[in-house]
Assembly symmetry: C2
Homo-oligomer: 207 residues x 2
């Protein structure tokens, strides 16, 4: 295995991981070749072979990789075998979808708690995860050493929640509110803009 991975390889590794994770459980038990992965993803198979060899030593000629081993090797390389605990602020449809979604686990994330200011939602549980009052955000995050937060509150409340998360020790914030958030020092915010993704998809490919 090589130690020096190019940034281009680093960008492709999650694609392989994602593709392999999407296989049926039966196919995950079998072998898969670099060629098959290349075909499924529309990539050059020489490139795929090289990328995979840089993170896994499990490839065998004419057999390929044990799919589960390859998933594990790529996952380890990308840190997906961590167990990072994540909180979600805002239990509207979007926030509830985050708590219900089980796909985070494969990437090493455990959504541990939701927060809301609506008393009707506080005290309930979604997909086995508790919903607490937003005023408990700071104490919960400090006590549980939470470093990652997802914001799904309305736009008007997003910056305040962002600031409170930062004060609670959270260092990485994924923001779904359609408003640009200013990250306090030491905190990285990714502003996810679904409208923009849709615009890039439909407009930049439309020729």
């Amino acid at each position: 295995m090589e130690k020096n991975i190019t940034s281009q390889t680093l960008l492709r590794l999650p694609m392989y991981f994602n593709y392999l994770m999407s296989l049926s459980s039966e196919r995950k038990k079998g072998n898969i070749s670099a060629t098959a992965i290349a075909e499924a993803l529309g990539l050059n198979d020489v490139q795929v072979r090289k990328d995979l060899a840089s993170v896994s030593s499990g490839g065998r000629p004419k057999v390929g990789y044990a799919a589960s081993e390859l998933i594990s090797d790529i996952g380890k390389f990308l840190g997906f075998e961590n167990h990072d605990r994540v909180v979600v602020a805002g239990m509207g449809n979007f926030g509830r979808a985050m708590l219900e979604y089980n796909g985070f686990e494969a990437y090493g994330f455990d959504i541990v708690c939701g927060f809301d200011c609506n008393e009707k939602r506080v005290g309930s549980s979604i997909n086995g995860k508790p919903v607490r009052h937003i005023d408990e955000l700071e104490s919960f995050c400090t006590e549980n050493d939470i470093r990652i937060g997802i914001i799904t509150v309305p736009e008007t409340a997003a910056q305040e929640v962002c600031d409170r998360m930062a004060e609670s020790g959270i260092r990485f914030i994924l923001n779904f509110a359609a408003v640009h958030l200013n990250a306090p020092k030491g905190v990285t915010v990714h502003n996810e803009n679904i409208s923009l993704t849709l615009a890039m998809l439909a407009r930049c490919n439309a020729n």
Copy 2:
């Protein structure tokens, strides 16, 4: 205004648009300088000035741009003043959040209809948008000339819905199901992977 825009400028334009759209309605009525935008987004102000000049002729020295005019100019350039109708398949929490979300309009997208196979959901309306049975997908999309679809169905149903959308004349699909979809010929699929976004955010910045 220049006709030749570099791909780097093209990548930054949506950032400017997004930032301007996130301003309060009062600030949108006033002027804004390239320097202020550059500072807010952490970019080089010479670069921002150049980018903006390439799509808007409204900039004046020491005054800047009328914010609303600049929004309109960037929006026109990026095609955000279109009115593209969009359908959403899958009315779980994620799909309902899509119908409730009003931020799409600013980007020229009208979510016109949701689809589901659950009889309890069919016939209802969310945020004024009707929910129809998934079996009406083809006829609705054909009759209304729909070209854009969002998939928020469970993973096991996503490929079938993708195929049905393609057969209905949809050319662009934004997929939120955590499974890699194979796009039929002539159709562009963007597989949105929130776990991966979170992983890139929390792992690639963590040093």
